[in-house]
Each structure stands twice: as C-alpha cells, then as structure tokens.
C-alpha cells in the first residue's frame, strides 16, 4: 500500500501551473472525516458552555483544570499514536505509570532529584526495550507481550514498596512535574504542549514518522523499500513506555505522592482518546493532534457531567451515550 494521503498531500511537490486548479485538487484531497473530531470537540464544548454557564464550566480555572487533568492521558496518547500507527499496541502503559512514579518517588527520597527523574524515566525505557525486543527479536505479537509485561510491571509496582504509598516532598520535582507554573501556564500544560508538538513534528515532518506509517501499513512492503521495520517497532515501543513513565512522573508531581494504583484506569482512556482522534487501531494512519483533541474530549466529558450534578451512575450512562455519538461521527466509514 502507499504512504497515507495525509503524508502525500503534505509532501507532494506543488504543481505551479493553475493556482485555482491546485486549490480545487487540495480541497478534494481533504478527508472531511479527519476534521469531525474537532467538530465533536466544539459541539461538546458549546453544549457544556450553554448548559453549565452558571456552574463554573467556562471559568478559566475550570478550563485549565481540564487541560491539567488530561495531561498524563495526552502524553501517553502521543506514544500510542506511534505504536498503533506502526501496527502494534502497548497494553503495559498503565502499569508503567505506577512503577515509574513509585521508582521516581523512592529514588527521589533516598538519592536526589536528578537520580529520581532518571530512574523514573529509565523504568519506562527498560520496560519499552523489553517489550520491543520480545516483539522484534522473538517475533511475538505486541498484544500478548505487553499483556504479559502489564502484569509483570503491575506486580513489581505493588511489591517494591509493599503496597505503601510514597510521598513526594521535593518541591522542585513537584513543581516541575505537575504542581507548579511557568509564567501563566501550569507545568502540566507545558509538558503536554511540548510532547504533542514534538510528536506531531516527528510524525508528520520527519522520515521516522513516514517509516512508522509504512511499517504499520504493510511491513513486508516497507522492508522491501529498505525501512528497518524492527528498529522502527522497537523505537515506538520504547517511546510509548518512556512517555508512560513521563506520565507517571506527572502524576507523582501533581499528587505529590505515588501509589501502585496510579494509571490503573488510563490504558483504555488512552486508546479511546487516540482512536476517537482519528488514528487507525490496526496501523497505517493516525494523527497526534487528533489524539490530543480526543483526550480533551474525554476530559471535558468527565468534567462537564460532574458539574451537571449527575450521580456517578448517571455520569457513566451519559458518558457512554455521548461517546457513542462522538464515535459515530468520527469513525464512521464512508459508503463503498
């Protein structure tokens, strides 16, 4: 199969003959479904803004809350876009969040700031490398490999502190990874922006992004064209686990503590955010910015439904209904 149309349209050299024809061609090349996620986002935003105008939804503090609360999901979603685009999946990210947060908190307490950050991120690199090596060297399906490491890493997270929570008292760490602000912006938002921008740039504008998509679209064809598919798959799995480790640090900084349960409900949220955002579950196409929007949709739904004063059960029902609507809009296949 060819490289996906999004890449083609961005990289195709412009034919400078008839400018109006060029615009028409470009307009025809736009797939409207790629933009429905933004429409869904706007519709949900407008709906809550209208119904919750007196309940604090539109206050800057609340909107900042939504951005802050979705930061770990957004960061992990960027990694997941690469993994899914490469035709793989990473189920271990929730467990990596807990283990990296706990490792960082313990090393931070016992050794120091730099060592704590390095140990936390290093945890992700190691788990990602294990995932990647099993997938590439032993040619095992990533679904099963990461299912196994999800249990393994989750067990390690429970055992390293014997189920005890660990407090984070280092204020520099807490400020840098979740509790502080840089100028007017909370550090969590800066981390999100940084990861999304770098992710988007690499995905859309670097050769690596095209290789990821090619590997996910048709690995055999990609190999023929000289792409080192195994290296690409190893890299995306290491990247995904490392971003999960970063999410673990963001949780530890934001909560000023870590426990083995952190991230336990994040995996499916991340997959939902990425897929709603427009990334194909089985590889070949995707969008980093769409994943961010998907993550914000999930966060906004959670926030708005609580502010509506619904009971917990009603919130779940409403979330389900609204998500079905969003999925119907964003993932509907065109008629053949």
């Amino acid at each position: 199969m060819s490289v996906p149309p999004t890449i083609e349209t961005e990289r195709a050299p412009a034919v400078r003959t008839d400018p109006t024809r060029s615009v028409r061609v470009r307009l025809r090349a736009i797939d409207p479904r790629a933009y429905v996620v933004y429409l869904a986002f706007l519709l949900i935003l407008v709906f809550f803004a209208a119904t919750l105008s007196n309940d604090g939804f539109l206050t800057s503090a609340n909107l900042l809350n939504i951005l802050k609360q979705t930061a770990p999901i957004s960061v992990m979603a960027v990694g997941m876009v690469f993994v899914l685009s490469a035709g793989e999946i990473d189920l271990s990210i929730g467990s990596v969040v807990a283990l990296s947060a706990l490792v960082a908190a313990v090393v931070l307490r016992d050794v120091g700031l730099v060592a704590g950050i390095a140990a936390g991120l290093g945890t992700g690199v190691v788990v990602g490398a294990v995932n990647g090596l099993f997938v590439t060297v032993l040619r095992l399906p990533s679904f099963l490999v990461t299912l196994a490491t999800m249990g393994l890493v989750g067990g390690l997270a429970r055992s390293i502190t014997n189920l005890e929570s660990v407090a984070v008292t280092d204020q520099t760490f807490a400020n840098a990874f979740g509790s502080g602000d840089v100028g007017p912006l909370p550090s969590l938002i800066l981390w999100t922006l940084g990861v999304v921008l770098v992710g988007h740039f690499v995905y859309r504008h670097r050769r690596f992004g095209a290789h990821v998509l090619a590997a996910g679209d048709n690995a055999a064809a990609a190999r023929v064209t000289g792409i080192r598919v195994n290296r690409v798959k190893l890299a995306v799995l290491v990247g995904s686990a490392t971003l999960a480790a970063l999410a673990g640090l963001l949780y530890a900084g934001r909560l000023q503590g870590a426990n083995y349960n952190l991230g336990s409900s994040d995996l499916l949220l991340v997959i939902a955010a990425v897929v709603i955002g427009g990334t194909r579950l089985f590889g070949g196409s995707g969008t980093v910015v769409g994943a961010l929007v998907g993550s914000l949709i999930m966060g906004m739904l959670n926030n708005g439904l609580i502010l509506m004063g619904l009971s917990s059960s009603e919130q779940l029902i409403a979330q389900g209904v609204l998500l079905l609507l969003a999925i119907s809009l964003t993932l509907r296949e065109p008629k053949a």
Partner: protein
C-alpha cells in the same frame, strides 16, 4: 475496519465502567439469630477502634443539633459536594443518609463523584467540583498520601471537609477538616469472629483471607478478627492465612487453599464484593456445602446464599445510612464553627438468616432486595 470500531467502542465502554472494589461497611450491635449449632455470643473485647492518627472513638450518637442550630444552617442556603472513592451499596446508603440529613439542614448537594479507587481520578474529581465552590465536602480519600494535595485546595478555599474513614497525610482536625467518621472497625472484626465461631460450634479449622493492601479500614477489621479468634477461641485453629491483593482473584486463591485444606470448618473473608463472592464460588465449585463463610459488608449474592441456608452463615455490616447522617451533621458543626469530636464511629451489626430484613433496614435503611426476600421464604 468494522472490527476497529467495535474494539474502540468496547475499549471506551470498558474504560468508563467503574471497577467496584472493596466496600467499607461495618458496625456493632446485637448479633442476629444463630445460623450454626450455637447462638452467637459476644466474646471479650480485646482491642478498640482508633482513629487514623490514634484518636479515641466517639459514637455518632453523640452529635446533637438544636432547632436553633438547624435554623441557622438553613438560613445559609449552603451547598455540598460528595467526592467518593467508589460506587457500591455502601456508598449509596451513606449518600442517602447524608442527602436526607442535608435536606433537613437546607443544604443542596450539587455534585457527586466516584474515583474508582484511583488517586489521580479523585484529585481530578475534587478539582472539578471545586469549580462549583461548595460550602461543604464529604469524601473518602482513596490514599492518605497521594490525595493530600487535592484536599489542601479544598481547605484553602474555606470548604468544610468531613472525611469518611481516611485522613489525608499531615491534616489536622479542626484546622484542615471538621472530623472523620467511620465504622467501629474493631467491633466489626470481632463480630465476624464471634459469628464464625458460633457457626462452627466454637471449634475447628478455619482459613483467614485478609486484605493485602495498606488500607486502614480493612486492616483494622482483619486484625480485630484474628486477635479475637486467637484470644477468645482456643479451640479454633487458623490453618491457612491468605492475603488478597487483587480482590478479583480471590476465587483462584480460595481454590488453592481449599485444595490444600479440604476439611475446613470455616472461612473469614475480608470483605464481600468481590472477594467473598469469589471464595463462595470456589466453595461451590468444590462441591463444599460444609464450610461456613463469614464476611463483612452486605452483598446480595452472599445474603441470598445465607437465606437459602448455604455456606454463608453471617455477614457483619455497618450502619452505612447512619454514617451518612453523621457526616452531614458534622458538616453542620463545621458551618456553625463548632468543634466536632475528632473521630466518630457508627456501630456494627451481625446479620444472619434470622434477622435479614431487620439487618438491611438497620444497615442500608432499605428493605432487602427481592432476590434475598424470596430466598428467605
């Protein structure tokens, strides 16, 4: 492609379905009828419930509000937010008790949340409801360490915080929160010991399934059970002790214990849903109709089994509705700037086949579910 959508939809739905884990009910009170060869008697109390920071317990019945107090609170037209740790029968009953008491006080509940035992989600929930600037918050902190920063913002905003069972690390009563309310945890474990002992005639071999997590509520209840058996029942031997770290895997653990100890007379399980349900299922799968099971917190499958004369011989529960009422009354203490007792406990009740309807009413303030009532006929 269609599979893609299906998987995505399933993933999303599953992400949104809350995982219910341990409940948190308990209480004291008279034992119900006897389900075993001997009636349940109250053995010597060999310990007492202490607060998360060692506070002495005060019964919830000590809280009093005069008509003038109620009128004063009513005139404030206050609002409340409830930020719970999970959703369960227990939380529903606590919420009902709190809502009814709030209604008397003219306090409106404007938001309710459920964290599914996830500290990160609870922090998000708390931040979200604070956009509504509630005057009062009732909450059970999922983790005293990892949620402390979330509750600091509540205290800073001047919202009166009333806690259930857990206290965030570093928090001082009176300064940071009004009070903490919980079950009489030691009495719950002791009631379970007395009930199991009675059902097996005060002698035999038992297995002890405890909650293998650092959780103040379950740890105190489990320890109280063990201490009471060891101190008061010399003819009962704890032949197997099994920690349950993942409540959903209790059935597998029970299968292993039952294989190693096929002649158990009784089992204690730390809480009902899901671990005691898992252990009951393992007993059934092994064709075991003899081993008696006692657990904590009311739960429909367990009570149906008990009503039918199955393995379950007793369930110890708390007065969850009363806990909710006490939390709402404590909130009024906070709004009136009156010092509340630092640590309040609601009593425990032992429910057996003979006092099912009364037990449900006492604990959850509702009639037994239809299936339980039919099984009891």
């Amino acid at each position: 492609m269609r599979t893609n959508r299906l998987v995505a939809a399933c993933a999303t739905a599953a992400a949104l379905l809350g995982l219910a884990a341990c409940g948190g009910s308990s209480s004291n009170g008279s034992g119900g009828g006897s389900a075993g060869p001997t009636p349940i008697k109250s053995s010597k109390t060999v310990g007492r419930t202490t607060g998360p920071n060692g506070e002495k317990a005060t019964p919830t019945s000590a809280l009093k509000l005069s008509a003038a107090d109620i009128a004063k609170v009513k005139s404030g037209h206050y609002t409340a937010a409830l930020t719970w740790h999970q959703s369960s029968d227990f939380v529903t009953a606590v919420t009902a008790g709190a809502r009814d008491e709030f209604a008397k006080l003219g306090i409106t509940v404007t938001a309710t949340t459920n964290a599914n035992f996830d500290a990160g989600k609870q922090k998000n929930d708390i931040e979200t409801v604070m956009a509504k600037k509630p005057d009062v918050m009732l909450s059970l902190p999922v983790d005293p360490v990892a949620t402390a920063s979330a509750y600091k913002s509540v205290t800073r905003a001047g919202t009166k915080l009333v806690l259930l069972s857990n206290v965030p690390k570093g928090f001082v009563q009176g300064r940071d929160y009004v009070t903490v309310v919980t079950d009489d945890l030691f009495q719950m474990g002791k009631h379970a010991a007395d009930a199991l002992a009675a059902s097996i005639g005060d002698k035999g071999k038992i297995a002890y399934f405890f909650h293998d997590a650092s959780y103040y509520v379950t740890n105190q209840r489990d320890q109280a059970f063990k201490k009471t058996i060891e101190a008061n029942y010399p003819n009962i031997k704890l032949v197997a002790q099994q920690g349950i770290a993942d409540p959903n895997k209790a059935q597998d653990q029970a299968n292993a214990i039952l294989t190693k100890n096929p002649n158990l007379d009784g089992v204690y399980v730390t809480f009902s849903q899901p671990p005691a349900e898992g252990v009951l299922s393992a007993l059934r799968n092994n064709g075991n109709t003899k081993t008696k099971l006692v657990s904590l917190d009311l739960d429909e499958p367990l009570t149906v089994d008990m009503a039918r004369g199955g393995n379950v011989s007793g369930i110890v529960s708390d007065k969850a509705y009363e806990l909710g009422q006490a939390m709402a009354m404590s909130a009024a203490y906070g709004l009136l700037d009156r010092k509340a007792p630092p640590f309040l406990v609601a009593p425990a009740i032992t429910i057996t086949k003979d006092n099912l309807a009364h037990g449900y009413e006492e604990s959850l303030h509702q009639a037994p579910p239809k299936a339980v009532a039919e099984a009891a006929k």
